[in-house]
Symmetry: none
Subunit: 416 residues, 2 copies
Amino acid sequence: MRIEVVNTGTELLLGKVVNTHAAYFGQELFKLGLRVQRQVTIPDGNDIRTVLEDAFPRCDAILITGGLGPTNDDITREVVAEMLGRDLHLDEEILETINEMFRSRGLLANRSNDRQAMVPEGAEVLPNPHGTAPGLYLPATNDGGKTTPHLFLVPGPPRELKPMFAEEVQPRLSALRDPDDRADIWHNFRIYGVGESSLASKLEPLLEPIEELELGYCARLGEVDLRLIGPSAAIDVASEIIRAEYEEEIIVESEDSIEQVIQILLSERGETVATAESCTGGNIASTITNASGSSAVFRQGYVTYANEAKIELLGVSEDTLEAHGAVSEPVVREMAEGCLRVSGADHAIAVSGIAGPTGGTEEKPVGTVYIAIASRDAETFAKRHFSPSDRVSFKMRVTRLALDLLRRRLRGFSLD
Amino acid sequence: MRIEVVNTGTELLLGKVVNTHAAYFGQELFKLGLRVQRQVTIPDGNDIRTVLEDAFPRCDAILITGGLGPTNDDITREVVAEMLGRDLHLDEEILETINEMFRSRGLLANRSNDRQAMVPEGAEVLPNPHGTAPGLYLPATNDGGKTTPHLFLVPGPPRELKPMFAEEVQPRLSALRDPDDRADIWHNFRIYGVGESSLASKLEPLLEPIEELELGYCARLGEVDLRLIGPSAAIDVASEIIRAEYEEEIIVESEDSIEQVIQILLSERGETVATAESCTGGNIASTITNASGSSAVFRQGYVTYANEAKIELLGVSEDTLEAHGAVSEPVVREMAEGCLRVSGADHAIAVSGIAGPTGGTEEKPVGTVYIAIASRDAETFAKRHFSPSDRVSFKMRVTRLALDLLRRRLRGFSLD
């Protein structure tokens, strides 16, 4: 089954936005046992026609992103309808949904939105709960020898596209797939604190004898996703080997986030965590609360950027701050223990570091951070870590490291 | 001058790697006054031939990434040579450079590297100091009416490609550019709180008479980037019109973030802001502290997820919580005013809402949020807002709205 992806969007070609659709579709289709054979990016406007004319004869299905919006250069819907010789009609239900969305946000619906409610004859409407323009599915046709592939028209913004893909496109593509094709499965290990290359050099000799096993790596902010693809028997054998090598480093065998894992671990124990953040500026608390239901395990957090805030809110001693500086192990210990005390939580995470680009010294360069974990029933652990990078990546890396230390404490593993 | 980009790499289509080349080329070419008109990703292997056959007649130049390596599916060099009817010869100098690179890393050079030293007749070699495969430049030809475009063959890995592009490709492309071509400039308006469609329907009739002006939109979490491209005289005229229509809604005329804008506004006044967050869970504080130098304007923040935290840390009254619930205007006002008092800051932002997916009621469905801005020298402002979406997007949207309300206060605009 030949599938191609067409992304429309001048901003993609101007480099204003990185095109993540291609990778997303590649991953998602692979899970269905399908592959993207080609991906094309074109500007908003007329190129869509020539690209589709070229692609129609060789494709079984085409996923088209973007060009469904309300402005003049959004013409995907109209071009496709014309190429297939289908009339467009105004779908009152869609129009009402769009108008209702505008009303609910206190905005006036605009006449230019009407275009988004136009539906080509024979198309299935794919609802878009996260935006205005619905998607469209036009099943393949075979009209006296002239065939057209299955066409999926989906919106460009990832927040709208991803849920629509999962809810609407994925089941339809699954149904189109040949059931006799070999059914590979996909198993993910999310691992923290082991580099991609050391994972590879340790595991590849061990996994090499397993036939039909494909390995993939994706590294991100200290985490590595190790992806196994193959028949389920091969995955089982490989998984046992990986578990034996990396028992403590495996965050989870899925694509669940570290914050979801922590929430489950805390919930199981009926415990809570509080945060005391300096250089991460609230990002640890925000990450913990990204997990739905986090209110059961997180009650409060402190962002103590200034020294006075560390003293007043967490009870860090002025002497310690003076003697060691805010970015130091003694201070981060006092922050964590103070946070535990004032919050009444069972665990506290504290961080203090130098995010940069300014503020570094020879002894404590930009990228230096101290992290502490205090718990009601265990000794406070603190460590120095060095992770120089741009400011936002630094905050994200430190957040992940801090959450992984808490995971290790909750799992009873060594924190060193 | 029509330029297209062809990226070869199965890993790009499998979604193992996000294709950042397209955005990189788009940005770099724009700086030269050039544009990428189309970008195609294909698997390693034979597709390169059909894609180039299709692209040759319409292009002035093609940038091809990948397929220059030592393995069997790296065939770009050979396919291009064959299409142009050029012989390949072994370049001893390149071979020696590759062998030397292997020796310097303590590795044995492999015979499969010889392929990387093959050069088509008439090609210029583009040195690759960061890897083994050099790039190749094949100037355009016009052979008895049969023309071929300028071809740049460059390696796929970004750390090899980017230096080669800067050192070797960019100067050659610059020289090809017609000096009489209009030098467009690019001007960005970042606008908050106006939908893409209402922007378009208001502005397009006003800007339509301006010749050679191109408009682009990119919407994200309540912000819209309105991009003007054209000669500077056209941009000047259009900018005046946009400023007159959206004086209060323009966050900034650049791509600076809202947090950078706020930091500048606060710094100019020598003022500070503190945060009291419930549903955003620290994301407002974290966003403020993403701006470098934010420690001058942000000292502390409170993440008060639980009611007890609102009472203990911010002094919200139990009676108010009981009478109105945590997600209510009276509570968010008390949070903001309490935050102002306990932090000693000049401004305080407070939010309380229902991020979902659970916790909604008929009166206060998921997506309901109250936001308050308290300031030392102005009345507290509070508003209800409704923005249903997934949990993480909700937090990001509410963060942007709250920061925009602070921007309005600092600029002296109405908050309603």
